[in-house]
Amino acid sequence: MAARMNRSRGTALIGSVVVALALSACGESSAEAEGEGSGSTGACAPEDVTLVGQVRNQTNPYEAAWLEGGDAFAESVGLEQQKLTYDGDSQQQQEQIRQVLASGDASCTVINALPNGDSDTTPIVNAADGADAWLVTQWNKPADLDPTAYDRWVAHLTYDGVESGYQIAKALFEEMGGSGGVIALQGILDTAAAQDRFLGLQKALEEYPDITLLDDQTADFDRATALEVTRTLLTQHGEEVGGIWAANDDMALGAVQALEAAGVDGVAVAGIDAVPEALEAIADGSMTATVSSDGPWQGAVGLAMGYCAATGELDVASIDAEDRAFFAEQFLITEDNVGEFSDPQLDMSEFDCDSLFSRATGPIAAS
């Protein structure tokens, strides 16, 4: 843990030098824009910027890593990230946003938020817009809400769930030698993430005719539930089970635990999210694959986008419309490359104002 902190501090230092250089390079241009309260470019002095990172809770490794990434970026520009967690409670999220915006002049405030659900994004966007704060949202947004209609909603980014489900399914099927039976552990069924990921599995199934889907059950993205469901499915399908596809790593790890408890060997398991335990499981062979959205990057890039906009280095109006709401790159992790991901390092050059959108893989398709 301590070693990890030191290393991230080291990269942060390098990052801050890079940012300092970048800042001095465009210092004059931002000075001209001074006094502007709204519009698509900001004129805040870097030290006046307030960075706010908001996620559901810190009780899972993914969101904890997200906030750590935000901290690393904040440190690299000599600021501190204000960390907010709302416990998966939409009301509380809105209340926190209101409080952040109510404390004086919000035109130099940057919010990198994970809205609790699609419908929570609209009031957050409206509140931030009304207070002239800079906003980046991730994961959830109603399809018809478009950042290009706003001056200060810099961008919305999310991940293509169909692609994640598809990638791990392919890795799983390859591990199984292209034939056999799989069981699928779905997430909470009425979430877009669960539905898209399952679509990805079905897409992969079409490409592998010798793989049969024995059963699909929901385990609510939950580890303990997945364990019980898997054990029951093992009772039902026994030896036929050659692989387990799970819509997230927590369920995959629950499935691994169930296989262990049942004394079953040789069943491949794949999940999504790249939580640290899953990476360990991939390294020791008990899991086959997972997909990483790179939580620390998400935590940092949202703040970086807002920071660049607030300090005038990034003109929001000039961002390519396709980049205002985009799918970000995700990474398939298998035994071959797990080493690179088990000790994630933020590459601070990715947060330079001109490379913020380097991970965009395309605009979010209207659904």
Partner: protein, 363 residues
């Protein structure tokens, strides 16, 4: 007076001892018809208990028969083991919560207490985060922590006179807060092999955890049956004012009942951690309502005074069989939750049907 209290006597179990013991207060009650009338009422109460337990058992039996008829996998020995293993944690939690429900109180502290205890045990035994390796001592300390949480809930409720609904809800938040601090962004993986063996090692076909659960339930039953904590809990739930008038330190025994419940939650958290293989903050999410539902299906009344550890086990088995059977019979996951809800409501209706007239006002 003594005659009136007889139906509320702290002996609401099916065991023969209360049958022998209950008429005593009535017999001492006075002259004429009074003893006969009182013992008659006591007998009516007992038979209502028996009838209700039968109803709960019937609900469970119906579930088993229906699933066994539809699914060949359901009626295998392997699946029986699976059901017992799956029921282990809920059985321990339901044993604990039964003590609180018998008081007529409610306990919503499980998610927090379990979260805090799960993080504690995973950090005290050999783990991936620190160099602790306390083994059994770590487990014992965790159970003590659970008991401490329970005692605190009890003290707050009895001394500050805050409704248990609020104190335990607050306790849950406090527990989750502690758990989140202990979690610190990195999940501790349990490396202690003996704790890991709880979930994977089998004796006579059953996991060590299942056997521990059976022992814990037996202990819970013994506490309920033979100690003042258990006997007063039922009495307090039946008629707290009368128990108070007869000189029982009600606040103390209520607090102790919460403490006993907390210790069982602590053990449940240890079992969950063994099963999940690492300390998970949200390990206890939803367990409060699962445990309460199990107790109610078993015939424990939320108004207190009635029910018991063994009855709650009927509910635990019913819930576990239901979750298992719905998967094995191939009910679509999209409708499973709704089906589960309907069957739980039906099971409660069946379980409380024989005594519905006696429930009086239901809120």
């Amino acid at each position: 007076m003594a005659g009136d209290t007889a139906p509320h006597a702290p002996t609401r179990t099916l065991e023969p001892a209360p049958l022998a013991g209950a008429p005593a207060p009535g017999a001492g009650g006075g002259n004429g018809d009074a003893p006969a009338a009182t013992s008659g009422r006591a007998r009516a109460t007992r038979s209502a208990d028996v009838v209700q337990t039968r109803a709960s058992l019937i609900a469970l039996a119906v579930l088993v028969v229906v699933f066994a008829a539809i699914s060949p996998q359901f009626r295998t020995a392997g699946n029986l083991q699976q059901i017992i293993d799956a029921a282990a944690v809920l059985a321990v939690l339901a044993t604990g919560i039964t003590f609180v429900l018998m008081l007529g109180a409610i306990d919503l502290s499980l998610p927090g207490v379990i979260g805090a205890c799960a993080m504690t045990v995973s950090l005290l035994v050999a783990n991936s985060r620190n160099t602790q390796d306390l083994g059994l001592l770590g487990i014992a300390l965790t159970i003590l922590l659970g008991a401490a949480f329970g005692l605190l809930s009890g003290v707050l409720s009895t001394r500050l006179r805050i409704p248990t609904f609020m104190t335990t809800l607050g306790m849950s938040a406090i527990g989750l807060g502690i758990a989140t601090i202990l979690f610190a962004g990195v999940r501790p993986v349990v490396l202690d092999e003996s704790l890991g063996a709880w979930a994977s090692h089998r004796i006579a076909g059953f996991t060590v955890m299942s056997l521990i659960a059976v022992a814990a339930v037996a202990l819970g039953w013994a506490i309920q049956r033979w100690t003042r904590i258990g006997r007063y809990a039922a009495a307090i739930g039946g008629a707290e004012d009368i128990v108070l008038l007869s000189g029982v330190p009600v606040a103390r025994y209520k607090t102790l009942a919460f403490g006993v419940a907390g210790a069982f939650y602590g053990l449940g958290a240890v079992m969950l951690t063994a099963r999940l293989g690492s300390g998970v903050v949200e390990a206890g999410a939803g367990t409060d309502f699962a445990a309460i539902t199990a107790a109610v299906i078993g015939g424990t009344l939320l108004s207190g005074g009635r029910g018991g550890v063994l009855q709650s086990m009927i509910g635990v088995l019913a819930l576990t069989v239901l979750a298992n059977g719905l998967i094995l019979t191939g009910v679509s996951p999209y409708v499973q939750q709704a089906v589960q809800g309907v069957i739980v409501v039906l099971a409660v209706a069946v379980a409380t049907w024989p005594v519905r007239r006696r429930l009086g006002v239901v809120k």
